[in-house]
């Protein structure tokens, strides 16, 4: 059953998460962008701020309506709190002719993300498939995942999408699964409220402690229509029909050469993508005889990613961009039964060259 909350109740929700021992990660204005930052208070939420995004460009703007969640995809997703960008996996010391390993127990800090978008929650369920559902489970990911609470926000405020295209990828703008609480923010004239739904027991328990009236049919209908309005007016889209097959057959497309000339192999797209999961593993040793293994985010745009003795397999920008795009939109399906792209649009906004994957896919379809 849905509840209606006001702005103050959202602040109270954050406070109650904190008193439950959660580290709260939420949106905040920092370095002229609206990103997720740990240690959020209600007053940190970017009230009245929105953003404009286009390929290779991002600017914040005043919305003038006091919306708490009036922005689109953040510069980076909040995956770093579940899947940290740099982590020591273990350390080891020499022990006569052998060695002993010290595997520190995976840390299991309780994290609550507030303001998570449908695309990012969908991305999380994709990462679950990678790290939990395969033949091998990643214990560190598992520990963090089990301690994660998600207060999601349906996208209900901005009709034109700028760079995101979740509707065509089937992941949003309404959050589908994997969250604990979903909020829909509604601003109508001087009315400003949130329709809240719990998805899990923990979500219900938390909502119960927050003052809010049961939502009336009007309010639920307002929320539904705001969300579907966003879906309907989302300008950018990818034609997902037969997409994996199209991509799998696209190797010889001349389009890869064209985009390869623009691609910087800078790795930005993979770093901001909420589903990318590649890591590098580095072994090292210090001057006191302690060896460590660290695991850090890696990208298929680096040479070492495909290095085998004698050189890299994917040497050209073209080959690396192709690998990335075909994986996201094509081969991912065979690997995990889902697309690797959730349509958050980050790789488009944050590409320094302004390369737009939706445009590339369209061009490949046209040339096929």
């Amino acid at each position: 059953m849905s509840t209606v909350m006001d702005v103050q109740a959202v602040y109270t929700l954050i406070d109650s998460l904190k008193s439950d021992g959660y580290e709260v990660v939420g949106p905040r204005l920092r370095d002229k962008a609206l990103g997720y930052v740990a240690g959020t208070n209600g007053s940190d939420l970017p009230a009245g701020l929105g953003d404009d995004q286009s390929p290779g460009n991002y600017r914040t703007r005043d919305r003038g309506d006091g919306a708490l969640f009036g922005f689109r995809s953040s510069p980076q997703s909040w995956r770093r709190w579940i899947f940290p960008p740099n982590a020591e996996v273990w350390s080891a010391r020499r022990d006569n002719d052998s060695f002993v390993v010290d595997t520190s127990a995976p840390d299991s800090m309780k994290v609550a993300v507030i303001g998570a978008r449908a695309c990012d929650v969908a991305a999380l369920t994709i990462q679950d498939k990678v790290f939990l559902d395969g033949q091998f489970q990643d214990p560190a990911y598992k520990a963090r995942r089990e301690n994660l609470l998600i207060v999601a926000v349906n996208c209900s405020l901005d009709a034109d999408s700028n760079t995101c295209f979740c509707a065509s990828m089937g992941t949003g703008p309404r959050v589908q699964a994997g969250h604990d609480i979903a909020l829909t923010e509604i601003i109508e004239g001087d009315k400003h409220y949130f329709v809240a739904d719990a998805q899990t027991d923990e979500g219900s328990r938390i909502l119960e402690g927050i003052s809010g009236a049961p939502a009336g049919t009007d309010e639920v209908a307002a929320a539904d229509s705001a969300i579907s309005n966003v879906a309907d007016s989302m300008g950018r889209k990818v034609d997902a029909d037969g997409l994996p097959e199209l991509m799998n057959e696209s190797y010889e497309s001349p389009r890869w050469t064209v985009v390869g000339e623009r691609c910087l192999s800078c790795t930005s797209c993979t770093m901001v993508c909420p589903t990318c999961f590649c890591t590098n593993i580095e072994d090292s040793g210090d001057l006191n005889g302690v060896a460590t293994r660290t695991r850090s985010w890696d990208s298929c745009f680096t040479l070492r990613h495909s290095h085998i003795h004698g050189g890299a397999i994917r040497n050209t920008n073209k080959a690396r961009y192709r690998q990335w795009a075909i994986h996201k939109m094509g081969t991912w399906q065979e690997q995990f039964g889902t697309s690797g792209c959730v349509g958050c649009g980050r790789c488009i906004t944050w590409c320094p060259s302004g390369i737009d994957i939706t445009e590339e896919v369209t061009a490949i379809r046209e040339e096929a």
């Binding site: 996996v89 273990w90 080891a92 020499r94 002719d97 052998s98 060695f99 002993v100 390993v101 595997t103 990678v130 790290f131 395969g134 033949q135 091998f136 489970q137 990643d138 214990p139 799998n248 190797y251 999961f277 590649c278 890591t279 590098n280 593993i281 072994d283 090292s284 040793g285 060896a291 293994r293 695991r295 890696d298 298929c300 070492r304 990613h305 495909s306 290095h307 085998i308 003795h309 397999i313 994917r314 040497n315 050209t316 073209k318 080959a319 192709r322 690998q323 075909i326 994986h327 094509g330 081969t331 991912w332 399906q333 065979e334 690997q335």
Partner: protein, 279 residues
């Protein structure tokens, strides 16, 4: 044959287990075989991640007999940082082991049929367990031909075992080199030139191939010329590997994770990707 059971999963994903080196044998100028304490069951074609303290970890195939679980053999060619560190280890020291990982040669599917094994250089290492398996279960297989190429006679791996494979194993061993340096009166030329001479019935044999990608490409073509169905071809592939558990993403070939879907593939499963460049 998937060996990873629930009990040993933790240790495979996590830290390497130190395994004592029982002996180290030099095979060629830059190839050494380490005999380690046994690790338990494995399938021919599977590999371990071998770790040298403070230096690094790399995928190395298991090269011993699957029937002998009290010892674990790895044959390593020193080509870079980690492999050079591995090959300079001495008996009594330890090397870290995680595994076994990956798929195996189709020993069951090959039962009752002829087998043709085509390989070059260090590629014989992951096939030796298959050869041992055949010899130990010789009655299960028809004619078996091993076609092996090396750059020079000196670089031929396990040459001291060829006679016993021929005699006690009833395996046809045909060899060739790229350059006949020293006392060599055998064949000179690429390994595919041996295909027409194999006595196994290629058109119906199960083929197992391991070598550099170019060699594999030419071999597949050479076998096709002898009317071999691509359905009977198995290849072992190589990609950069950091984890072995399909999490690091480095070993992808199209939709495949070479570490878990391979390294041994049914050729037709990867043909689409394998035939293209820079994949």
């Amino acid at each position: 044959m998937t060996i990873a059971t629930k009990q040993n999963l933790e240790s495979i994903v996590g830290a390497p287990r130190p395994a004592k080196i029982l002996s180290v044998d030099r095979n060629t100028d830059d190839v050494w075989t380490l005999r380690l304490e046994g690790q338990g069951a494995f399938g021919p074609g599977q590999f371990n991640m071998l770790y040298v303290l403070g230096v690094g970890e790399v995928p190395i195939s298991i090269s011993g007999s699957p029937g002998k679980t009290d010892e674990l053999l790895h044959t390593v060619r020193g080509v870079g940082g980690v492999t050079n560190a591995i090959t300079s280890l001495k008996a009594g020291q330890s090397v870290g082991v995680r595994g076994p990982f990956g798929t195996s040669w189709p020993m069951a599917a090959a039962k009752g049929r002829d087998v043709v094994i085509v390989t070059g250089g260090i590629g014989l290492a992951p096939l030796r367990p298959a050869i041992y398996h055949i010899i130990e279960n010789r009655a299960d297989y028809g004619k078996v031909s091993l076609l092996y190429g090396a750059r020079t006679p000196k670089e031929m791996l396990y040459a001291d075992e060829f006679d016993s494979w021929r005699e006690t194993g009833d395996i046809e061993v045909l060899t060739t080199v790229d350059a006949a340096i020293g006392a060599w009166d055998g064949d000179v030329g690429v390994v595919t030139t041996l295909i027409p001479r194999a006595s196994a019935d290629i058109s119906d044999a199960v083929a197992m191939i391991c070598g550099p990608e170019v060699m594999t490409r030419f071999t597949v073509a050479g076998l096709a010329e002898r009317n071999q169905s691509k359905d009977n071809i198995y290849v072992s592939l190589e990609r950069n590997m950091k984890c072995g558990t399909a999490h690091c993403g480095h070993c992808q070939l199209g939709p495949k994770f070479v570490c878990k879907d391979g390294p041994v593939f049914k050729f037709t499963d990867v043909a689409h990707w394998f035939e293209k460049r820079e994949v």
